[in-house]
Symmetry: C2
Subunit: 680 residues, 2 copies
Amino acid sequence: MVSATPVKVHPFDPLSAAEIESAISIVKKTHGDVFFNVVSLREPRKAEMTKWLENPTNTPVPARIADVVVIAPGGKVYDGLIDLASGKIISWELLDGLQPIITMEELMLVEKICRKDPKVIEQCVISGISKEDMHKVYCDPWTIGYDERHGNKIRLQQALMYYRPNLDDCQYQYPLDFCPIFDAEKQEIIAIDIPKKRRPVSRAAPINYHPAAVQKTGGYRTNLKPINITQPEGVSFTMNGREIEWQNWKFHIGFNYREGIVLNNITFNDKGNVRPIFYRLSLAEMVVPYGNPEHPHQRKHAFDLGEYGAGYMTNSLSLGCDCKGSIHYLDAEFPTRSGEIRTIKNAICIHEEDSGILFKHTDFRDESVIVTRGRKLIVQQIFTAANYEYAIQWTFHQDGTIQPEIKLTGILNTYTMDPNEDTYGYGTQVYPGVNAHNHQHLFCLRIDANVDGPNNTVFMTDVVPSDAPVGSPENFYGNAFYPKKTKLSTTGESKTDYDGTWSRTWEICNTNKLHPYSKRPSSYKLVSREVPKLLPKEGSLVWKRAGFARHAVQVTKYRDDQLWPAGRHVPQTSGEPSLGLPEWIGDGTESIDNTDVVLWHTFGVTHVPSPEDFPVMPAEPMTLLLRPRNFFTNNPVMDVPPSYSVTPSQVAANGQGAVDATDKMSQLAFGEAGCCKARL
Amino acid sequence: MVSATPVKVHPFDPLSAAEIESAISIVKKTHGDVFFNVVSLREPRKAEMTKWLENPTNTPVPARIADVVVIAPGGKVYDGLIDLASGKIISWELLDGLQPIITMEELMLVEKICRKDPKVIEQCVISGISKEDMHKVYCDPWTIGYDERHGNKIRLQQALMYYRPNLDDCQYQYPLDFCPIFDAEKQEIIAIDIPKKRRPVSRAAPINYHPAAVQKTGGYRTNLKPINITQPEGVSFTMNGREIEWQNWKFHIGFNYREGIVLNNITFNDKGNVRPIFYRLSLAEMVVPYGNPEHPHQRKHAFDLGEYGAGYMTNSLSLGCDCKGSIHYLDAEFPTRSGEIRTIKNAICIHEEDSGILFKHTDFRDESVIVTRGRKLIVQQIFTAANYEYAIQWTFHQDGTIQPEIKLTGILNTYTMDPNEDTYGYGTQVYPGVNAHNHQHLFCLRIDANVDGPNNTVFMTDVVPSDAPVGSPENFYGNAFYPKKTKLSTTGESKTDYDGTWSRTWEICNTNKLHPYSKRPSSYKLVSREVPKLLPKEGSLVWKRAGFARHAVQVTKYRDDQLWPAGRHVPQTSGEPSLGLPEWIGDGTESIDNTDVVLWHTFGVTHVPSPEDFPVMPAEPMTLLLRPRNFFTNNPVMDVPPSYSVTPSQVAANGQGAVDATDKMSQLAFGEAGCCKARL
């Protein structure tokens, strides 16, 4: 059995290995030996693509264009576009003062060079590490973010330094106190940031989570009995290339170096009427500001997508490990620096899960009842950003809800401390000598809306009490409350923040299509409750660089190529001016009323570390909902087969005619007899 | 195999059928024929119980006391206490102006009487229903809440009226516009509230969710393949009577008529050290205010626990239907009005679920990796409150997190409307002629804390930017932020509201026990993000009656019998004065610093209905977390066996020694060969 009808390339498909190779060879022919930073699909122009989607048979297929970023000798960075059919370079631009994404290969170099650098060795010795032990010194290379002393003409990384007494020790428990700066062009350490207060490497006993360490401290628990999840008849979804169909949903699953999973052309088959909902959904950016003001920790504010790439850092997933049941995987293909192909097997996993009760109602009069179980579809990737892991799950529900869910796990970013030092509340001593700094994980969800068509309008909704006072004729008993809707008419008005007090939500509405009963516009509602403020202050380095994160919601008019809200090239941007979304919002006067709009939503968590998070962090979940409201005529899941249903007339007939499709695999925990409810 | 070692009665166990019968017979002997409203465990006094828990072998077992409420002829209500061992009535008190909970039997009466009442029949005829069709008229009887015209001396119910054209139709699509008032003592209709604007019964075609209706409109979807969940070796928990042990957790599962599930003496075995966390956890009250100011809808603000009882209304659950896998059930026993025993089979279900990745980390250098899957334990009940269902799940995680989760499903409360009428934003026309009013579901979680002992202190924590301006030496780059902790020293100070901007949480701390590394107090943190304000205005009827719901968090000093924050007897309270929590908070001066405290948390959702919610509502989940912070020395789940682990030294040895316990049941969705990641 194969996964899918073999199909021609879909215009949303990522570039294949052959296409990447073709682009590389075209570039090499013209420009000689360069380092390949990006070779990725330049997505079809929306106007052209929309025409094709409407009528794929009679419309020319949008051209396959490769979006290329290369670094040429001398550190020169070029943005290029290549038409793959013609083999022509259709654009080639030398950038000035912009640094493209840092690739894994570039990261890998730094550690080797640090270990040999005499100045780094000197600092290691000062920290208490013998110079013979430099193979025990590790670094997590980060892009430098922005450092005003170094600017953005030279491609730089900062090396967060660690020590491992033994090869299998977790290095994050032995941070070093200095920070080398690496010049990617020269491939050497050009400076070292050394704190005024020196802190030697911790001598605390290691704490490890690997099996040998666990065995030494009591061993593994043995009281977990297996839970088996099997799908003997296979899955309920079908794949046509990278297009998936499941429970009335249909969409295309793309993947790129930057955002990782990209979902395109999300539609719902509403009783035969295929209705568009989102043109494109992705996590488009994130920023992780750390809250310790001591130099140079202000540089720790990773834009994991814009600076490293959720695609480039994605894990190769394993059957029976990262999820259970029947799984479908999709691979990812990327260029290497030198122009070879790097394949990440199983970059995406797709599977279903039981989701508990979908709906239930019992009539208390006669115990007539219906119970229907739900199902969800999960499209997942997991990426490793140095110490942290992010599991990104795009969950689809049968009732039309889409639920992006993120699980944070992995290891805290740590810095060294004197065990008796005051952290001043900016961090937590999670282990002797280990200071884990406060930080935020702020994600930017890009919602390219298409709710019943491209012309949408966003409203902010607060549910508030009536203005009429208690005792007044309009509100005599004081119980009146209603959803107060504020239309976001311009990009300026769209800059809105979260307010949990009034259950604030945002509704993406098609005001051209009113519901036949409610007379309200067809809409999808953003229900998001983990929406802290960007904590770095106004005017701060992070505030300038992560302009997108200043508000919970911002809305722009759709334009091709406005994909990434911190800008196309993020490393070493100064934030002066703020790139990306602040530019697109502009003076705030552009109308976003009843037009093709993109909603940018920043959400996340503020994390004050705790010893429970160390040495490895139990997964912390975070979620939000995109829910249909006034979109469907009524409950769209009534045709999901119930587990059990008996109507009043069937109750009256002693249960005759009741539907009993309860799960016969379920058992009583202790095998007692007579414990199960006697059905009618 | 049996579920448990047979044990003597545990002092926290609900009264057994025999104990209830014994209490009833004692009451009958002294007081003759009365209606039994409540016969329930009066929980042991905490001081006595704590001593017994500390040393059960050498401490007298706390006496079994029955808490009894009866209604005697003439509508006289008595509160009594009965010592079951001695058979003595130890207290017996006639109440004045207080009405006890409405039982299912009392509810059942109203519909029968409405159908025969000439004034009701007259109103049905006015609504367009033939008087021959009174068997098609239904009512959901609610306690009247409070109506100033009728006061609280007479026991009253209001009858929300509906019509079913056919027996199997859902009546909530045919609401009637008038509201009879039922006198429970006289058992007659004493008044009918008739709106000024009359609205005849809807003539719209029925919309039903039962199988015959679904078959008529296209039938059930046939494309869902089974997901089987099996536990061939049984469950990972053990039961000793009603005490459960699972993954270091141990607690007692109680159940009463009022709150339903009550969890007592929750402890965690931390490497041999059994540490107390919560003395008692329950949902202690809830209120569902509706937002339509038109008379008499202000009376729709059900206190589902205090007025009807989450125990009394609980569903009898079914194997393979309400949850999957291996399930353990507990029954509930209640008295009937006349003094018989009513047993709810399977009132509580207990089962485990796979909970996805517990933790994962990959070292990007060599792809050494660990992946460990998590497990959760769910203790669940589902209750039907007339139209709505609430699934209450108490979820325990291996990492010490407790996650109360509530799923709302069932049917919207509806009122009739002219299909072209303006709802003024106070409701939504979800189907022609059906107006579903805005409402809130506000739950009050009672947390009787015992974090490393009874003396706890509550802090409110906001994570905020440093006050130091950008450019100042203390905050040069402007990135400083820290958790600002406010100690809630008195009951008055404890009245605090939610603020999502600063990720506000509340920490229940044991300030007498500092963490060895972080030097912060051992604590459990309340992380709750669905915390709307009580929308009925200050001074309104609901605001007065539901005093507990005015703030997100309130803290009191522990006192026996302060269990239910809207008061012991809720029906027909006027809110003048506000009973329960506002009384206990008092003048606000009582110290709650380093003492035995109870935290009351009000959370919930504000629901603006939508046609998608009709005729039956897809389950809407809501959740919060109680998380250990600075409680464990470090990550407490490192000893959960990993699915896969390979260390750097094992990577270097080509994978030799790696632990591979991946789930061998998992399969590729489409059976492709060669798709699975090749392990080392």
